[in-house]
């Protein structure tokens, strides 16, 4: 009697096994000369990161869910953070999005605004600024929506998103209702970005939603439901199987109010994805801002601007919706930058564990190819990854990749130790040959320390000419990683002031050239994981002594600045052709020597 029969189709071994296969990502081989270049790069000094949150007085715990358990996925998704200069004093302040407990709001739970004291420390000014608020905050985007010269804040929530108008006197006023941004029902806001999509000089607002859920109807962890357990451990459910949301686009009316144009713009029709981080940038170099949305467990979205107030979704056609073998990825965070210095903006997207952080190379006209394997990123798949960047951290002229991590199922660790709740920071150093090498964190405690992190933002809080990193850690104070970049590398920071364009100059594209080398960045309202970076575009320059700068302003004006000296901040005002130079002295702090590999 044959025991090993295949008894019936749905459970047949062969059929099931067919579903088990997982084919890997992309490819390439590095040529010998490039390999030689990479070994030179690896030998050069790299940035050293030092955790200074405590000494900088970033000490408030960012409550988010229970910590050791999570009944619903609303408890695990936040929050983002931002570097912004809310008081226009030339020093980066910090905003952190926080949450609450499921059943209560603990004392001290709130989003936090920290004012930069210009001495390496910060003061918590949340209350004075009028920003105390404890809810299920998720993301933040920054932009001067009313063109008054002060950066405003938009914070997404599971619940009601909130617009905070900067009053210009150190305080903010919540103007969600007046601005026409109240939602009639509970929504799970996640990514957001200010973007002048119709190029009228006013910042409009795109908001991604994660899922159409309500805690009252959300299922709880269960072994009986396939999307509510992980390897036999009941965990918070989803997102798979949860109702798919629509995303929203609000047009700025120029009078402090917005009009929901989701339907007429075509955005409302782009269903089918659990949206997270939203980045507005000109993907196809046509001068109009497009919007990339990293989406969890579903195809990511690339909304291409039709120049007439509408968008078409083309992520699949352009190679950024799914992995190169067609698999849906758990897209969380996004970095936009030009990793191979070819003058085109590439995309890095963080993913769930067992999915490598993906790198998508822009091959022109907004077409992308998945170069995750070629770039050497494919082997690091251990952690759920969130905030990220494609920015030059060691000022060598090649953008690096930084990633923060943290588990989404806190209950796993006790049962399955291979899935730790807290994760390290991952750093991939650009070797200048199209590939990256992972920086060994053994000598850098700030990288190897483990946290349940979500958003992170990149900015120069101490004005010393490199990019520091602020990180939102759930149920802990934030981290602030001071970057001590190799001193011999040069840099330049560019601050843009829109005049005809939006005042924040969001959507401006800056190209920096030195010799034959070109670098490009675009000023964005959100990236990383639902976070917002220092609005001063920072370029590492290696040994370059001066650079040429080209700015394409959001409304299309192109201005050039030749032979600009390095190691300084330059401020450019749209349409004036004039450049204000300012050396940044930084603050006096004890600096460690750069780390050697």
């Amino acid at each position: 009697m044959a025991f090993r029969f295949t008894p019936f189709e749905p459970w047949s071994r062969r059929r099931m096994l067919q579903s088990l296969s997982g084919v890997a990502a992309s490819f390439a081989l590095s040529s010998p000369d490039l390999a030689a270049q990479s070994s030179t790069k690896e030998a050069a000094p790299f940035s050293r990161f030092v955790e200074v949150a405590q000494s900088s007085c970033l000490t408030k715990v960012m409550f988010y869910g229970e910590g050791s358990t999570a009944t619903y996925l609303t408890e695990i998704m936040g929050g983002g953070c931002a570097f912004l200069d809310y008081d226009n004093d030339g020093w980066m302040d910090i905003f952190i999005v926080g949450g609450r407990r499921l059943e209560s709001i603990p004392l001290g739970a709130s989003n936090r605004l920290y004012r930069n004291n210009r001495d390496g420390t910060f003061t918590d000014v949340t209350k004075e600024a009028g920003l105390l608020d404890a809810g299920w905050g998720v993301g933040v985007c920054v932009g001067d929506y009313n063109n008054d010269g002060f950066e405003d804040l938009f914070v997404t929530y599971f619940g009601q998103n909130k617009l905070y108008r900067n009053n210009g006197n150190g305080t903010f006023t919540e103007v969600t209702r007046e601005a026409g941004l109240l939602s009639p029902k509970t929504r799970f806001g996640s990514g957001c970005t200010f973007v002048d999509f119709n190029r009228d000089g006013l910042l409009d607002l795109f908001v991604a939603n994660y899922a159409d859920v309500d805690i009252a109807t959300l299922p709880k962890p269960s072994l009986d439901r396939p999307n509510c357990n992980f390897e036999g451990v009941p965990v918070n459910c989803g997102p798979s199987g949860l109702p798919l949301p629509t995303h929203a686009l609000y047009r700025n009316n120029g009078n402090g109010t917005f009009t929901d144009v989701s339907k007429e713009s075509g955005v409302a029709a782009m269903r089918g994805s659990y949206g997270l981080t939203a980045c507005a940038f000109d993907a196809d170099d046509d001068g109009w801002p497009d919007i990339f949305v990293a989406c969890d467990s579903t195809p990511s979205l690339l909304l291409m601007n039709n120049h007439d107030g509408t968008f078409r979704e083309e992520a699949l056609l352009r190679g950024v919706a799914v992995s190169d073998n067609g698999r849906e990825m758990a897209g969380m965070g996004v970095g936009i930058g030009d990793y191979d210095c070819d003058g085109r903006l590439d995309i890095v997207r963080t993913h769930y564990m067992n999915q490598a952080t993906g790198l998508y190379h822009n091959i022109g006209k907004g077409e992308f190819e998945d170069v995750t394997a070629q770039a050497g990123l494919i082997r690091e798949r251990r952690f759920v990854s969130w905030g990220t960047c494609l920015l030059d951290l060691d000022n060598d002229g090649f953008p690096d990749i930084f990633v923060v991590t943290g588990q989404v199922y806190p209950e796993l660790e006790a049962v399955l130790p291979k899935y730790p709740r807290r994760g390290p920071r991952l750093l991939f150093r650009n070797l200048g040959n199209g590939s990256f090498s992972q920086v060994d964190d053994a000598s850098q405690p700030a990288l190897s320390e483990r946290h349940v992190s979500r958003g992170c933002a990149f900015g120069d809080f101490d004005n010393d000419g490199d990019l520091d990193i602020v990180i939102m850690n759930q149920n802990e104070p934030p981290s602030l990683l001071r970057n001590d970049a190799p001193q011999q590398n040069h840099w330049i920071k560019i601050r843009l002031y829109g005049v005809k364009s939006n005042r924040s100059a969001l959507g401006s594209r800056v190209t920096v050239r030195c010799g034959s080398k070109v670098q490009v960045q675009e000023l964005m309202s959100q990236s990383s994981y639902v976070s917002s970076n220092d609005p001063r575009l920072h370029f590492g320059l290696g040994s370059a002594a001066n650079v040429d700068i080209e700015v394409r302003w959001p409304l299309g004006l192109v201005e050039n600045y030749k032979n600009v000296a390095v190691n300084q901040l330059v401020s450019l005002r749209e349409g004036t052709g004039q450049l204000k130079e300012e050396s940044l002295t930084g603050i006096r702090s004890v600096r460690q020597p750069p780390a050697t590999p």
Partner: protein, 495 residues
């Protein structure tokens, strides 16, 4: 004399000669059930099951208390693929000896093969009986529970089976696979490891284990893959799995080499064809990639992703129209998957509402689920059950009809439609549905009872008696069936 010679031939395994001898013995003693049985047994053992049927049936008629002719008949009929008749013989055997392992093994196997999982459960998971299940019974019962999506029960039964027979590879394999389906990889791995400790050379189990490790991204996968490759350098699946691991780690040259060999050895596997096509495309060998991806689809690869990969290759070749077609197919399949997932989510919520007694909410949620997945018969059945609870008979009937339109083999829906028809006084339609229910699930006792009741109501006593007898054959203790049988006996004019 002839019987002695027959025995001698049988012991010498000369079954054809044995059959001739027992045939002669039977001719000389036509009322001997034993000779008839041995004649049939010899024919069956000689590989002539069709000829064996007549003597075995005669043997059974001559001695209704002898289980052996039924068992041999059951095996012969199964061999002839006359499963329905075989099932009757297994049941007859069980009527003689309810604990016959041979009958239980074979009947449960036949029922599993027919996907009549409920009948298997009824047959083998009787709490009133404490007897130990055979290995085959444990396996079949586990598979039946898996088929009913009662995975916890499947795991329980298979674990019990493995405790009884720790060396059983089929049980270990199935248990491990069900644990994987439950996303309990960490529990599945020790099952594989224990099985392999007892059967270290079993390639099927080693391959299953490697598949599981690969699927779970386990650190152990590369080592096992290398070991298998060293032992079986020309086994296509070993090569394929090694290629897959190499590809996952970005070692595409190695993946290409391994996968090419795998496909050469077995060109008919859609997944290795896909992996080869995908890997070739990374080296810019687009025409070859296209061929292998197309071959994968032609071989029955139903993964949406293969269409995406083919679309990218076609785009690279400049074949934009076919590329668009493939991309559309990818999206169509993905959207269908997404709709199914959305429907499943809604259905889960609806199930929850049902459990909480909120039938109205359940109805709404099932309807939402059906909006996403309008061709799922089980959802219509569940909707019908919820509608029944809010007394919406028209809606219930409509949902049940839709369910059986989509799957006429849904016995519960057929039974319920029969019940509703009977309530409306439409006996003919009721009978039709009850017959469809027992056809779809021959051990569906309730449907047999309903059928018997319907037939009795039409005074079709003989048919009614047959139906109720069938119910009692399956469940001799069924109180309703016994009562009905008595009623029929009383009411029947012949009696």
């Amino acid at each position: 004399m002839h019987a002695d010679i027959g025995n001698w031939f049988a012991e010498s395994k000369k079954f054809g000669c044995a059959a001739s001898s027992f045939a002669l013995a039977s001719k000389l003693a036509p009322t001997s059930a034993a000779y008839k049985y041995f004649w049939g047994l010899s024919l069956s053992s000689a590989g002539r099951p069709a000829e064996a049927l007549a003597p075995l049936r005669t043997a059974s008629a001559l001695d209704p208390s002898d289980i052996r002719p039924h068992l041999t008949l059951g095996a012969a009929l199964d061999g002839l693929k006359r499963t329905g008749e075989a099932e009757e013989e297994w049941r007859s055997a069980l009527a003689i000896d309810a604990d016959s392992d041979l009958a239980l093994d074979n009947l449960s196997r036949d029922l599993v093969n027919q996907k009549d999982f409920r009948s298997v459960v009824r047959l083998l998971d009787n709490p009133s009986k404490t007897r130990q299940r055979s290995t085959m019974q444990s396996l079949n019962l586990g598979l039946a529970y898996a088929g009913l999506l009662q995975l916890d029960d499947a795991v329980r039964v298979l674990r019990e089976g493995l405790n009884t027979d720790p060396a059983s590879l089929p049980i270990a394999d199935e248990l491990a696979m069900i644990l994987l389906l439950q996303s309990k990889a960490e529990e599945a791995f020790p099952v594989f490891e224990l099985a392999l400790a007892k059967h270290p050379e079993d390639l099927v189990t080693r391959l299953l284990y490697l598949r599981a490790l690969t699927m779970s991204h386990s650190d152990k996968a590369p080592q096992l893959a290398q070991t298998l490759l060293a032992t079986y350098p020309n086994q296509w699946e070993v090569l394929f799995l090694n290629a897959q691991l190499a590809s996952t780690d970005g070692e595409f040259q190695k993946a290409l080499s391994l996968c090419s060999r795998s496909v050469t050895l077995n060109p008919d596997n859609p997944q290795s064809q896909r992996l080869l096509g995908s890997t070739l495309s990374r080296f810019g060998r687009l025409r070859e990639a296209k061929e292998h991806l197309q071959r994968s689809i032609a071989l029955g690869n139903t993964e949406p992703e293969v269409h995406y990969e083919l679309a990218r290759v076609l785009l690279g070749l400049g074949d934009s129209d076919p590329a668009q077609d493939q991309m559309r197919e990818f999206q169509r399949l993905k959207n269908a998957q997404s709709e199914k997932t959305q429907a499943a989510g809604k259905a889960e919520e609806a199930d929850q509402a049902t459990r909480q007694g909120d039938a109205q909410k359940a109805v709404e949620l099932y309807q939402d689920a059906l909006a996403s997945d309008p061709n799922e018969p089980l959802l219509y059945y569940k909707l019908a059950k919820a509608l029944e609870k809010i007394n919406d008979v028209a809606g219930e009937t409509s949902a049940l009809k839709r369910a059986i339109d989509l799957n006429p083999e849904l016995p519960e829906a057929q039974n319920q439609l029969g019940y509703l028809a009977l309530r409306e006084g439409n006996s003919a339609e009721a009978e039709q549905h009850f017959r469809a229910a027992v056809h779809a699930s021959p051990s569906y006792v309730v449907a047999w009872i309903n059928l018997a009741a319907t037939l009795a109501a039409e005074s079709r006593w003989k048919d009614a008696e047959d139906a109720v007898n069938r119910a009692l054959e399956i469940d001799p203790e069924n109180v309703q069936a016994r009562k009905l049988k008595e009623l029929i006996a009383t009411a029947s004019p012949q009696r």
